[in-house]
């Protein structure tokens, strides 16, 4: 079955004093992969600046605006249409002998190949005392352990907005056990990595039902590399294996590799930023 989606991303920035030169780089375009295909994209800005498409260091599509004329307000809007294929996350056969998979995970060539997604970053480093937070059971398959971990993280953190931000590190999250999607994802990545499973932070959109408007944000989930299966998405915020409602934009080691907006602004004074996301599904 195929699903058609329309995604609207809108960001507004207001500056107290005029901005004379600025660069914005958006990382909001859905990627093309085996389950999703981008059909059209449309960008508009309020400042009449050209929008350039480019790629970032990890190969994901970015949209960049370079404003050369002074302004105080800027609105950027993007609209994407894409189709998504039904994903059955359980469409594979589990291995008969789990030990081979664990052997693979700990083998040197494997650890070298996935080095980037096995190492800790400032946002995904577990304090020493929490390294045994969740131990994989060698009697179960890697996939089963990942499912269990997903549920564990989901239950460990209580969803609460406004208590964390994108710089919040794991000690704070482990202590308060509260946060939003990026906190679930950072913890999930960290725990998977100490269990030798490559983990990447995914930034994207979540379709939460039609007509759902308003102050929606971008979503984050985790992809874990499972031997013989490949990368599988786990949304620990919702205790789900990623499905057709998860529209992927980019991945990286942690949030810092895929923020939706990077801005270099030559200005002084305060600024105010607001952004909204709307995901609609067409029958």
């Amino acid at each position: 079955m195929k699903y058609d989606y329309t995604i609207k991303y809108r960001s507004e920035n207001h500056y107290e004093t005029p901005v004379f030169e600025a660069y914005w780089q958006f990382l909001v375009t859905p990627e093309n992969n085996s389950t999703q295909k981008l059909i059209t994209e449309k960008f508009t800005t309020s400042v009449n600046a050209r929008i350039e498409e480019s790629v970032n260091g990890l190969g994901f599509t970015t949209s960049r605006i370079h404003c050369k004329k002074p302004f105080k307000d800027i609105v950027f809007e993007a609209e994407f249409k894409l189709t998504k294929r039904e994903v059955n996350p359980f469409d594979f056969t589990l291995p008969l002998d789990n030990s081979l998979d664990y052997e693979l995970l700990s083998s040197l060539p494997f650890r070298v190949e996935f080095e980037a997604y096995l190492k800790n970053t400032a946002l995904t480093i577990l304090p020493k005392i929490s390294e045994d937070l969740f131990k994989f059971e060698q009697s179960k398959s890697v996939f089963e352990n990942c499912i269990a971990l997903n549920t564990f993280i989901h239950n460990f953190i209580t969803f609460k907005t406004g208590v964390t931000n994108t710089n919040t590190t794991l000690p704070t999250i482990l202590e308060n056990k509260e946060g939003v999607c990026q906190d679930y994802t950072h913890l999930m990545c960290a725990v998977a990595r100490v269990n030798q499973v490559p983990a990447r932070y995914v930034s994207g959109y979540l379709h939460q039902g039609d007509g759902f408007l308003g102050d929606m944000q971008m979503h984050a989930w985790t992809e874990l590399y499972i031997p013989e299966i490949g990368w599988v998405g786990f949304d620990s915020t919702n205790n789900l294996v990623a499905n057709h409602n998860h529209i992927k934009v980019a991945h990286g080691k942690d949030y810092n590799d895929c923020p939706p907006l990077k801005g270099i602004v030559y200005s002084s004074g305060n600024n105010f930023t607001k952004y909204t996301v709307e995901v609609n599904h067409q029958q």
């Binding site: 790629v55 190949e113 080691k253 990077k262």
Partner: protein, 489 residues
């Protein structure tokens, strides 16, 4: 004291037997290559040298060849002290050095290609994974990129010393933004001004051909499809300690010196703002660190970079020299694997020796280091410029304890090497108004391009001016000498 005191300027020259003296052999005879020079200098009194020394210093001041010391809060512009007694290296000895440093640069280039592609050397367990994954200079964004001509470390600076056994040892390979080459050329100039007569008696290689070779190398790695490339040097600006060198190089090569704000990126091409409109830039010789290159890709607080530069590089529309991410191979911990790296990629024996290194990340080594600090030099793995180095036999008991604590906290961050005894060279000491022994090292400059390579026949001989001091970096109060490479007779 040396027996031969016929030369008045050497009357108070104190020769320690344990050290390798570049000028006098073990029988206190002047070595062959220095004989003529020694004879010529005999005609001058120490007052003559005092006057010449003042004049040479004035030339450096007037040309603005100065630098700043970062650790000093009241940082002042200083000149890099220059010494009037050149260092001479004969043709055969140089041949080994030249082959050796070229071999290292080539091996490091292949290593860099490997760690940013298949990572074979790590998968085969020859270089530990940890050295790559824990290195802040290993850039994931560089994975799979093929720089033009396949070159990463276009410009390498290799630091060598001569040990008391008379052999050269490599101390480190600098392949991020090695500096100092402008001093090589300025030192030659200054010595020619001060003592032009002595040059008539020696047949030595020129150093001025560095500029033309550097330009050729930079042009050889132009992006695909570019006919005659526009090459620029990018500097962090006038407050950088090496700003003089940046402007000197731009001027001698004949290319533009730019700062980040002089460039911009449009549709993944890099342009330079000029009075006649934007001009496309094809090759950038950067003298700014990786993480400051592009605030949209790396550190967003970088005010000296060019937004969008990395994307243009990734698309192959501009070449960055040296390539971003080369720092992973000039980590001091990688240095210790150089003999293996050379064997692995070139199937050759290393021509130049490595100093034995203890990795504090290894348990056995850590134990040895903690017990023998007084016999070792402790270095942080990722600091440049001689910062954070402790020399074991110069520490008090209290300080040794502190160093032990620091190492125990983060063993991966430190390596240790036996205290090498750097060779000494006669150096004019202002306060004494005479020549004394001082420790020296040698920095060589190697260029790699597309189907072309070049080793500067000369180098920067750095002198530790403080008596007995082993650290020769300019930022730690070192000076330098003109370095002569003799032509084959």
């Amino acid at each position: 004291m040396i027996k031969n005191t016929a030369n008045p300027i050497f009357s108070s020259y104190e020769k320690k037997d344990a050290l390798y003296d570049e000028i006098f052999d073990e029988n206190d005879e002047v070595r062959d290559v220095y004989k003529k020079l020694f004879e010529l200098y005999s005609g001058l009194s120490s007052n003559d040298f005092g006057t010449l020394n003042e004049k040479a210093k004035a030339t450096f001041f007037n040309q603005g060849i100065t630098f700043q010391v970062y650790s000093d809060a009241k940082a002042q512009e200083k000149i890099f002290p220059f010494d009037l007694f050149p260092r001479i290296i004969d043709a055969t000895e140089w041949e080994t050095i030249e082959k050796g440093v070229l071999q290292r640069s080539k091996a490091l280039n292949l290593f860099l290609h490997d760690v940013y592609h298949d990572k074979k050397i790590i998968k085969e367990g020859i270089v530990p994974l940890d050295l790559i994954s824990s290195s802040s200079n290993y850039l994931q964004s560089m994975m799979g990129i093929d720089p033009p001509g396949g070159i990463y470390n276009h410009i390498s600076g290799t630091d060598l010393i001569k040990h008391s056994d008379g052999h050269y040892y490599v101390l480190e390979d600098n392949i991020r933004c090695p500096s100092g080459v402008s001093y090589v050329m300025c030192n030659r100039n200054a010595l020619k001004k001060a003592l032009f007569g002595v040059f008539n008696h020696y047949d030595i290689h020129t150093v001025t051909d560095y500029a033309e070779n550097l330009l050729e190398i930079l042009e050889s790695v132009k992006p695909n499809g570019v006919d005659i490339p526009t090459v620029v040097v990018i500097t962090p600006g006038i407050y950088n300690s090496a700003y003089y060198e940046h402007s000197y190089l731009a001027k001698t090569i004949g290319i533009e010196l730019v700062e980040g704000r002089d460039l911009f990126v449009e549709n993944d091409f890099v342009y330079m703002k000029t009075i006649s409109g934007p001009k496309r830039v094809d090759v950038i010789y950067r003298r700014i660190d990786d993480t400051f290159l592009d605030p949209l890709e790396f550190r967003s607080d970088s005010a000296i970079g060019v937004p969008g530069l990395f994307a243009a590089y990734k698309k192959g529309n501009v070449t960055i020299v040296n390539a971003p991410g080369t720092g992973v191979a000039d980590d001091k911990a990688i240095y210790t694997y150089m003999p293996d790296i050379i064997k692995y990629y070139l199937d050759e024996e290393p021509i130049l020796k490595n100093v034995h290194t203890y990795h504090c990340s290894r348990e056995d080594d850590l134990k040895y280091v903690l017990e023998n600090i007084d016999k070792l030099v402790i270095k942080p793995v990722d600091e440049a410029g001689g910062y954070g180095i402790s020399i074991g036999n110069k520490l008090t008991k209290e300080e040794i304890k502190q160093v032990q604590e620091v190492i125990k906290k983060e063993p991966r961050k430190y390596i240790a090497q036996p205290i090498m005894s750097l060779s000494v060279h006669a150096t004019f000491i202002e306060d004494e108004n005479s020549f004394e022994q001082r420790h020296v090292d040698l920095r060589t400059f190697t260029l790699l391009g597309n189907q072309k390579d070049f080793v500067l026949k000369g180098g920067l001989t750095r002198v530790a001016l403080k008596k007995g001091n082993l650290i020769v970096n300019s930022s730690q109060g070192g000076g330098s000498k003109d370095t002569w490479i003799l032509k084959n007779k």
